[in-house]
Symmetry: C2
Subunit: 676 residues, 2 copies
Amino acid sequence: MPSDEVVKGSASPPEKKTAIAHKLATKQQEISVTEFFEKNKQILGFDSRSKSLLMGIKEAVDNSLDACEEAGILPDVEVTVEKVGDEEYRITIEDNGPGIVHKMMPNVFGRLLYGSRFHALRQSRGQQGIGISATVMYGNITTGKPAHVESLIEGEDEVAWGMDIVIDTKTNRPIVTNDKAFTWEGKEHGTRIQYTIKGRYITGKQSVFEYLKNTAIVNPHAQVVFHDPEGKRYLFERATDIMPPKPKEIKPHPEGMEIGDLLKYASNSSQKTVSAFLKNDFSRITDRIAKEILEKSKVNGDKKPEKITREDAIAILDAIKTTKIMAPPTDCLSPIGDNLIKKGLMHVLDGLRPEYYATPVTRSPKAVNGNPFVVEAGIVYGGDITSEGQVQILRFANRVPLLYQQGACAITKAISEMDWRRYGLEQRGGKGIPFGPAIILVHVASTKVPFTSEGKEAVAGFPELQSEIGLALRLCARNLKSHLNKMERKKKTHAKFEIVQEILPDMAKKAADHLGRPVPNLDRTITRIMNVVWVEPTVKKDGKKARTITYTVYNYTSLERTFRLHAQLPKECVNLSLFSHPLFLDMNEDGKANWEVRSIPPSAHVEISFELKGDMADTFDADDIYFSGLNPVMVMGAEMLPGDWGIKGMEIVETDEGDFVEEEEEEMEAEDLGDE
Amino acid sequence: MPSDEVVKGSASPPEKKTAIAHKLATKQQEISVTEFFEKNKQILGFDSRSKSLLMGIKEAVDNSLDACEEAGILPDVEVTVEKVGDEEYRITIEDNGPGIVHKMMPNVFGRLLYGSRFHALRQSRGQQGIGISATVMYGNITTGKPAHVESLIEGEDEVAWGMDIVIDTKTNRPIVTNDKAFTWEGKEHGTRIQYTIKGRYITGKQSVFEYLKNTAIVNPHAQVVFHDPEGKRYLFERATDIMPPKPKEIKPHPEGMEIGDLLKYASNSSQKTVSAFLKNDFSRITDRIAKEILEKSKVNGDKKPEKITREDAIAILDAIKTTKIMAPPTDCLSPIGDNLIKKGLMHVLDGLRPEYYATPVTRSPKAVNGNPFVVEAGIVYGGDITSEGQVQILRFANRVPLLYQQGACAITKAISEMDWRRYGLEQRGGKGIPFGPAIILVHVASTKVPFTSEGKEAVAGFPELQSEIGLALRLCARNLKSHLNKMERKKKTHAKFEIVQEILPDMAKKAADHLGRPVPNLDRTITRIMNVVWVEPTVKKDGKKARTITYTVYNYTSLERTFRLHAQLPKECVNLSLFSHPLFLDMNEDGKANWEVRSIPPSAHVEISFELKGDMADTFDADDIYFSGLNPVMVMGAEMLPGDWGIKGMEIVETDEGDFVEEEEEEMEAEDLGDE
């Protein structure tokens, strides 16, 4: 208990300590958000000259793509980087978006924490209302120059507006100069920002070029032109004219909500009763579910939402936990889709002539803290992809490439925690980033991507999210492994073919000569030794957007065979050539096509052939061919039709020929050895 | 040029697009900083239940240590974690700091971006004015409960105050309830915060225990008590009573300043002229240097600072670049120091009985963006440290352990980019985190640590900083390597001794028996074969704070020898036992001690012995013994005195005996072989 004595055996006199508490008090003050970010520019991603150069471009391009998509416009974005001084660059980003209303321009570009997408539960690139204003601020801090912004909105108002903008860092408010209307020649609508910034232009993995290239992979509907500081022009062409579906805004989902969230929603609600509040302010709460929650929680549904107490909130949240509520709606998200991921990857990576594009995986949506999210993954393998060192990781969040902070990212963590040795990649101790000739792509789409910082460079490791990434990767890796297995088997069978068809007759002749006997006829023996139905695909490239696919089917068994072949085709690319083929059976709505090979005699072969024409023609992997109606041990070059294919396959015919042939093989080997 | 035609071949009618630009405009709005962080809690580090539990404790303990040090009080901090519900914990942190003035308590704990250390150029743990308020906010969001804060300042005002605080997230202002004065029994001064938070209590590498343990390593002057949820009490004792020197506030250093910074300082300056502004508002700008800058930049030194134009600013910055200006003062920093790092590591890690504590390295200060910083590194090797998997990395910033986001941290990057194979650790391809039985410690101290996010979990990769970390690591790794080499040599010499002293006489006897000759006397031969002066240290532990060190020096050469031995001792631990030893010569101010071994005959040995008593006694590594006055090829167990030791060593005596002996050795081997 504090006594009345003043001195308490402390080293310094008490006056001094009091002085310190009071001295500290005088220093306490508010920090403006602009000052905070000015002093912590690394948090916004402006921590090195080379990164700063990229950050600004990234923020501007993100905004352009968001605006175009919101307006349903196929994006045309042009990026220009000019060197104007020592480590000083002038950057221009121009789009064909809907434009920005004149009076909003200053706040959009000249005020931190100001934006249109922060409160919306819907996938978008920009969500924080920080990025582009931070770019304007950082340009101004490093060069003293204002940013110049121009915008033209279409229709009623055909005059463009241009203005210079800087941010007052003390007040976080825009200062506008030279605000002028002008006629924008040749432009229908769009926005253009030009700013000068201290930066360093680099090439390689973290360059502007790489960022734009990767943007093209996950935004196949966008066209991007890039003028580099040497005046070279690069065009990333649109890979498809199909706009991604526009994400819809949703209400918050009750799952994973905190007490504070619920109390806040309740106090802000315009509903008259708790019951109506639950039904109308959340997604997936129906009349029945609201009733169930209220009954379980024993909260009076007729009371006003703002009267909900902490105890009520706990009871409601507990009730929600034990109530079955539908997963959040997913039209708020815009995943790329497995086909378009593959298309995008091919479009950009085809120079590397990869051996294999593993069928990308788009997981079904989940929610974390009430925010729906979707994970997508793809793997590209082999060809000219370097096999030196670790695999390359392409990380994306809401269709934006993430080039920095790989080590901080949940995507990297999920990759590192997987045992890739089981899927055919090298990895020390089954942990860490694997090694080998592969590129791994992961895309996280969410109404609220949990970035680790305002610089939006890495996704935070929420457990639910990381586990979904792991699942997507495993599914995709399984495709890779099955491909590698297939290739391995093919190689072995090729070797067997070689032995049987070339070396065996040779050996027979030699043995016959040696023994002075006539050379025996080996035709039947070869067929019996092989004992396979062999499916061999060939792909003919008929220009950029057309392919002719041919499957040659050999019956190297001693019996007549009847069976079916199946493939999932890019439906929009098929034509009469498919339907008119005599072996063609049917194709369903998903593009799953079926053929029947009837009564093919031993040692005979047939051909199945068709054309694919259109944008997606090259995404079809001819190795993805399936069969039904045969014992899997006797088929080479095709996989057994999976159970979930969704059509009724033929029964698998049991056979005991396999054992018999193996015995004969062993005899051959024994003879062979005796001959030496 | 936009024409008068309304339809421009666009898919949607123009009215719709205009509507979009205007629709977007209506959604534009300001985002409150509290709302921003509420929705982006992962940025503050609250992204999983287990991490959230730690974050709050970390922020509170950081504040306690900062406050104690500012007041010159040896910190006593007590942390209590109690489980009060399903994933719900009540956390209490109490300190003996100077206390917080009553009227400041609400803002300190209930308002984001409010603090006393943001504008100060001086090392401190908290700098952002976010952490503890974010903890209060997050506790309230997840449990609905307010935080309870109590504080007592010493002296004039002996009544303690307690109050409940929550943050209004819409306005970022504290809401205070139950504000009451009370008598704090048994307390002289200090602050106590108690809050309830959803969390998960974990053990292991990212646990509260680990955080407090690592805090003890880098804050050997602090005492920390921890009560875990099971009621167990852990005490991290103070390892030293010496307070670290209090960092002093400095003015900004002109180096690395941006144009925007200069313009801002100028417009805020209270100085009358540019000349006075340069001299008085910056550190290290003297009269002469101000003149030089003004001459080079051709800016009029008499004009008012607020009249500086963008062109003036560019000219001044260019002039600063070509002017030699002293490095920033470093009394704004408080590095731990190599001795205390070692002491701290030993204090906490001694259970692992490491084989070697590499002498820690404290680099001299550098500056980045005008912020001075110091890098320190230490390595602990061998013993019971696990050799499975990657080495353990202990990261610290301003004496705070960083437990999360290892992959995002410049410290990890610097470690990964070093080729550790050159320093005796295993590493695939000379890149990545090395493998082996080692713990690597890095401490970055700065007036402004560039964290990658507000959660302060990783240091951003500013190039200047990363390169300094690399240098500190290399220096420290060199110590490790030299130790490993020494051990390797010792092992080899031990093996040689074994052969010569045990096997050789045995062999000679065998050979003599075989040949029927008498066994030769090998004494001289052994000495001549060895041809070394052997220094063998032994350490006797006389309790926790006392050691007796003995060096036994053997002359296994064929001549009488005179030479010196040298060691750097913890000066404050030596006593009469050192000075009274007959071979002792002298010791300088740094604790560098010298002994002389005079005319030691062949095959003889002498002993040098002394005691060390006190806190730092255990930090002396007996293997760190040096010699002078001998040819290095003939010394085992001591290193040659380095040139920078600072005392005049004796001349190195050249000898040709080595060659002769080697020949004899070869002969022996040949005989040996013939005998088989």
